[in-house]
């Protein structure tokens, strides 16, 4: 999978690339408006991470160019502005998602995973991981062909872990993923335990191997 990171803050771009490199992502960089435009016009990417404020121009124009070229690349806007207008405008022009800085890398990975999955809907609307089978369209999960009833949040959590497989995901990242802004208003993230405990229980009881490991003091890891 090819990902283009259009971001002028090199450290951030590097972190994203490092995090994604473990999975089967191939990252390229563009730090200026001009550079980004050239790459976007010439190559095809599965997903483009687009910063709005770039040296030399506005990221929105890159998005517009992309759409006028009729390119099918998935686009996630990552912006420091967190402005509603930008979000609405970006999604209107054709971005797939909008993520305000600062964000957790696992959150970004989940969004990228979701965008790519949606882009290539036709052939991957079912995810098969050993005995685990997730039907994205029907929103159902099967273990050994046996349907297990997961709540909306548990399914969300499961996909989140799969998008971040073999990565340690912190509790605060999970909390933020589940409850958005509400999570960081609270002093503890205990509410995630219940969901994780239930998810684990339902999977293992159905005969699924225990892929979800608790990393003491850090968080959780989906090991495969």
């Amino acid at each position: 999978m090819k990902v283009l990171i259009i971001e002028d803050e090199r450290e951030l771009a590097q972190s994203i690339a490092d995090y994604l490199s473990g999975a089967h992502y191939l990252c390229e960089f563009a730090a200026t408006y001009q550079e980004a435009l050239e790459k976007v016009e010439v190559y095809e990417y599965d997903c483009i991470l687009l910063d709005i404020m770039l040296p030399g121009g506005n990221g929105m124009q890159i998005l517009e160019r992309l759409k006028s070229l009729n390119k099918q690349d998935g686009v996630i806007i990552i912006s420091a502005k967190n402005s509603l207008d930008d979000k609405i405008q970006g999604l209107h022009i054709g971005a797939d998602d909008y993520l305000a800085k600062p964000f957790h890398l696992p959150e970004l990975a989940a969004r990228i995973y979701s965008v790519i999955r949606r882009r290539s809907f036709a052939n991957t609307n079912v995810i098969q991981l050993n005995e685990l089978q997730i039907d994205l369209l029907g929103k159902s999960v099967k273990v050994h062909q046996e349907l297990i009833p997961l709540t909306k949040k548990e399914l969300d959590l499961l996909l989140y872990f799969i998008a971040n497989k073999n990565k340690v995901v912190s509790k605060s990242a999970i909390a933020e993923h589940l409850s958005g802004e509400l999570a960081d208003m609270l002093d503890n993230h205990d509410f995630i335990y219940a969901h994780i405990k239930n998810l684990k229980k339902k999977l293992t009881e159905a005969g699924c191997a225990n892929y979800l490991k608790t990393i003491y003091g850090s968080g959780y890891k989906w090991e495969l």
């Binding site: 803050e9 450290e11 951030l12 972190s15 994203i16 490092d18 995090y19 473990g22 420091a80 502005k81 967190n82 402005s83 509603l84 305000a100 800085k101 600062p102 964000f103 957790h104 890398l105 696992p106 990565k167 340690v168 912190s170 509790k171 605060s172 990242a173 589940l178 409850s179 802004e181 509400l182 960081d184 208003m185 609270l186 002093d187 503890n188 205990d190 509410f191 219940a194 969901h195 990393i215 003491y216 003091g217 850090s218 968080g219």
Partner: protein, 426 residues
């Protein structure tokens, strides 16, 4: 405090009163002086004429004495007498009752005694003329002066009125505009052109001052917004590095704990930054578009999202939500406001406590069990409730108040019988 235009009016009135008052004795002295001089002159001419006429008559013996006696009988005021020696002329001024015309009070006389010699004998002639009495003169002058003073006073008041409505009109118009100037609207009033130099100068000076204030205010607001924006990227870098660090295989439990603590602090910084940005944006009149919002539905959606947090703290929630209460406002802002006030209740309710939410036509009441009253004065101020040990940013309620004030809603806090009560009246 007096009206600007009434101040000179009083001073002018006082001044003209004093001047006119002083003019009364001056007029009197001058008029009296002229009177006395003219009458004196008259007396001299008369006495001189009498003297000369006497001399020109050739009296026979004894005829002279008879004539004098006759003269004195017919004109008793002009005494003609024989005296023992010639003396220099003398004048006198006296008040006495006249014996011929009935009158109240005394009459004033100016008299002159002159001496002459005739046929070796000496005679004195006294000529008297009735003169205007002093008090009558003073009375007349005072009356005339008072009349003029009244005319002046009426003139002053009428002119003052006229001046105030014409000359000062542009001043009062400017004053009205300055009064209604609201810095936070960032709009400067337009002053009308005037042909008075001072007013034009005042208007342009005030205009300049307003421009300056508006600029400073705008810069200050933009500064907060820009500073928050600039912080987002480095915060994103730190966040991403921490997420990466967590991936290291060789992390000890202690190191993981450090990362976790750093994460928590970072989350707090990010949140403060986000909230500051939000406040700056609200102040900068963003989120301007309004729509009709069904508060009842919004509130129910928000409450549904709270279920996780309620379960963790084992809180009991009671809700009484009147259906289909609508409000005009910005959807995003109303959502933020509801979130903040609800999360505030969740956060500050003790474990196993109770939260009560009641929505009525004109108010939203959120009460939760607590231990001690909070400082209601500081509660809604920025950073006043921030506490290093709590994850709160100290901005949540400030945002609630900012949003409320934008729509002229009122938010208040009360502590009654171990229950914190927040009331939001629309």
């Amino acid at each position: 405090m007096k009206n600007l235009l009434n101040k000179p009016l009083r001073i002018f009135t006082l001044y003209s009163f004093i001047v006119l008052l002083c003019s009364i004795p001056v007029y009197f002295i001058i008029i009296d002086f002229i009177w006395v001089r003219e009458v004196g002159e008259h007396n001299r001419i008369k006495s001189e004429a009498t003297k000369q006429n006497f001399r020109s008559i050739k009296f026979k013996d004894g005829e002279m004495e008879k004539s004098i006696a006759l003269w004195n009988r017919i004109q008793p005021e002009t005494k003609l007498r024989e005296v023992d020696a010639l003396r220099p002329d003398s004048t006198y001024n006296e008040y006495r009752k006249n014996t011929y015309i009935p009158s109240k009070g005394l009459d004033r006389y100016e008299g002159r005694v002159t001496y002459f010699e005739l046929n070796g004998k000496f005679y004195s002639v006294t000529i008297e003329t009735n003169l205007e009495e002093s008090y009558e003169t003073i009375l007349a002058i005072t009356a005339v002066t008072a009349l003029f003073f009244i005319i002046l006073l009426i003139g002053f008041i009428r002119l003052n009125k006229k001046i105030s409505t014409q000359l000062w009109r542009s001043f009062y118009e400017s004053l009205q505009k300055i009064k209604s100037f609201d810095l936070s609207s960032l709009k400067k009033p337009e002053f009308d052109k005037t042909d008075v130099i001072e007013f034009e100068e005042m208007n342009s000076s005030v205009s300049r001052l307003m421009d300056g204030s508006i600029n400073v205010y705008r810069q200050q607001r933009e500064f907060t917004e820009n500073a928050s924006h600039e912080l987002q990227t480095p915060l994103a870098v730190i966040q991403s590095k921490l997420d990466l660090l967590l991936q290291s295989q060789s992390l000890s439990a202690q190191q993981s704990a450090i990362i976790d603590e750093t994460h928590k602090a970072l989350t707090r910084v990010s949140r403060i930054n986000k909230n500051l940005l939000l406040l700056a944006k609200i102040e900068n009149q963003q989120y301007a578009d309004q729509e009709s919002i069904n508060i009842s539905l919004q509130l129910e959606e928000q409450i549904a999202q709270l279920s996780d947090f309620l379960a963790t703290k084992n809180l009991k929630l009671q809700e009484q939500i009147a259906p289909d209460i609508t409000m005009k406002g910005n959807k995003v802002l109303v959502e933020i406001m509801l979130t903040n006030i609800l999360m505030n209740a969740v956060r500050h309710t003790v474990k196993n406590g109770e939260i009560n939410i009641r929505l009525e036509q004109d108010r939203l009441t959120i009460s939760n069990s607590g231990e001690a009253s909070l400082n209601s004065e500081k509660l809604f101020k920025r950073f006043s409730s921030a506490d290093a040990n709590s994850p709160g940013t100290g901005l949540g309620l400030a945002i609630v108040r900012e949003i409320c004030s934008r729509y002229q809603w009122n938010v208040s806090y009360n502590f009654e019988n171990g229950v914190h009560v927040f009331v939001l009246s629309f």
